[in-house]
Amino acid sequence: MNHDDLLDKIAIIIADVLDTDKPQLDMQTTANNIEGWDSLAHISIVTQIESDFQVKFTLVELAEFSTVGSIVQAIERKRNGD
């Protein structure tokens, strides 16, 4: 699964959690760019990503989620077994 596929799946999760249309995401998108993505929504989005991708992020990884790209990279690291 490449970056675009991951971005598309994350966009579907965000739309589901926020109950909105699927947002246009790129690696530089931040929570500030998405209406409704506040701190509580962030937790719902992250836990849904964990559930859908069968991964679990550490507190250190969570603290580094400044962009959607950083989430994509963390998923890839987890799936590559790093």
């Binding site: 500030n32 409704g36 506040d38 701190s39 929504a41 937790i43 719902s44 836990t47």
Partner: protein
């Protein structure tokens, strides 16, 4: 669409109906020290209000097949609250609750007509109020014991009170059993698990009949320690449900006077008579203790928290310091308090009065909220400053904020009001050179205002001692 304002009276009525007496919903004094800084509406109360509006549009008795509830933001009191109902899809309703134009709760309900509803038209064998677990004080479950929580709650429903609050269509359409099984969920979360420090965020409920059951069984399925979030599985006669609730942080306890005495005893406050506006908790409390530790005679004010103010005064006085407390609500008439301030003849004034600061929405600027902040930060400060300047006070400590540098997306009204207050202070000192108004941009410090379910970088509020020291150095400059 329906519009209303929830009041504290509504909160108390729903607390009696649901037996959810969590103080975050009904006690303004305690709630001001909890995560939202003020009482907030029970999420299930907003849900039933929305369902009652939906009921008026449904002609026939209705079975709930599924219900998803997301409590997105706190629903504050005395603010216009709107509910939109979308019935464009068959057998599905989407309800959205908004405040200040922003969605704060979303409910999606899947339903079908049903002629025979349990409890409709006949009385169900439940009491009007719970007859067991009668405590009015919520349990305080710790993070360590959360995962082991399980138990049962009885169902109850005060039919007359439910009709009085929501109108008769709610029970006529949805029946007593379904509504009772929803109401008990707020009692579970608010009073039992997580209890006192709960933050109810989600209900996912689906129809699954268990006619042999007469109550609600619950069990914590997961407790995510990274977010302090509990997932609770529930079973009742009509539904299986999964709830999500945070264990929110408790109020921040500032250092005691004895500890601050060790850190602030070196402060050279001289023969200072210090007036600390908003000194019963948070940064004001640390400032009171620091100044008293340095030898100042302190008059602190509080708005509503007499118990907190008395605790600060007792702590200082019992260790030999000088402090007393006076009630002053800066958002109301201050004539009597201003006379007392002038009579006190303060040499230095420290201004910490503030409303709850995290009430904004991302990318939204509401002038009414800006006015609310400005009422505290500019109008009230000006009203206190003017008579004291006339009486000879020259030194004012006015905490500003790094938010002016950082411009947080969801704090527009607060940030602009603080920037305006900074400009006011600069204008005052420009035109009255004899004044010192010290306006440090404070970082995010650990107080009741800055607690969060997320791990955030709050600096120890003891750092206030350094700011006070810098202020006093500026006051001494010729």
């Amino acid at each position: 669409m329906g519009i209303r304002r929830f009041t504290l009276h509504d909160q108390l009525a729903f607390a009696n109906l649901s037996q959810d007496h969590n103080p975050i919903h009904i006690d303004p004094i305690i709630a001001r020290r909890m995560i939202y800084g003020q009482p907030v509406v029970h999420g299930v109360n907003a849900l039933l209000w929305s369902l009652a509006m939906l009921a008026k549009q449904l002609a026939r008795p209705t079975l709930i097949d599924g219900l998803n509830c997301a409590f997105i933001k706190p629903i504050v009191l005395e603010a216009d609250t709107a509910a939109h109902i979308d019935l464009t899809e068959p057998n599905k309703a989407k309800l959205e609750v908004l405040q200040f134009g922003n969605p704060i709760a979303r409910f999606t309900i899947k339903y079908r007509d049903e002629e025979v509803l349990l409890g409709r038209g006949t009385s169900i064998p439940w009491p009007a109020v719970a007859t067991s677990d009668l405590q009015h004080h919520p349990v305080e479950v710790t993070a360590q014991s959360m995962a082991a929580q399980s138990g049962s709650l009885e169902l109850f429903l005060d039919v007359a009170e439910t009709n009085a609050i929501y109108g008769s269509s709610l029970l006529d359409i949805f029946g007593q059993s379904q509504i009772a099984e929803i109401i008990v969920l707020t009692r579970l979360v608010g009073m039992h698990v997580p209890g006192l420090h709960s933050l109810f965020t989600e209900i996912k409920l689906k129809r699954s009949l268990r006619p042999d059951m007469s109550g609600l069984d619950y069990q914590v399925m997961d407790f995510d320690t990274r977010f302090n979030q509990a997932t609770i599985a529930c079973r009742s006669p009509s539904f299986e449900s999964r709830l999500k609730a945070f264990l929110s942080p408790s109020s921040v306890k500032q250092a005691g006077y004895a500890d601050i005495l060790l850190k602030a005893g070196h402060l050279n406050v001289g023969a200072q008579r210090a007036l600390v506006i908003g000194g019963s908790r948070g940064l004001g409390e640390v400032t009171v203790k620091s100044l008293a530790a340095g030898g100042a005679d302190v008059l602190l004010t509080y708005s509503t928290g007499w118990d907190d103010a008395r605790a600060v005064v007792d702590d200082v006085v019992s260790h030999g310091g000088k402090a007393r407390a006076l009630r002053c609500d800066v958002s109301g008439p201050m004539d009597a308090a201003l006379l007392a301030f002038v009579a006190f003849k303060p040499t230095h004034v420290y201004f910490f009065a503030t409303p709850y600061i995290f009430s904004g929405q991302k990318d939204t600027f509401l002038y009414v909220k800006f006015q609310g902040f400005s009422g505290y930060y500019i109008d009230a400060f000006n009203k206190i400053l003017q008579p004291l300047i006339a009486a000879g006070t020259r030194n004012f400590f006015y905490p500003s904020t790094v938010a002016i540098d950082e411009m947080p997306a969801a704090m527009g009204e607060y940030t602009v009001a603080k920037a305006a207050a900074e400009a006011y202070c600069k204008w005052m000192t420009q035109n009255r050179p004899q004044l010192t108004i010290f306006t440090p941009r404070l970082p995010r410090l650990a107080t009741d205002q800055t607690v969060s379910v997320l791990n955030v970088d709050n600096r120890d509020s003891d750092v206030m001692i350094e700011y006070i020291s810098a202020f006093l150095a500026q006051c001494r400059r010729p």
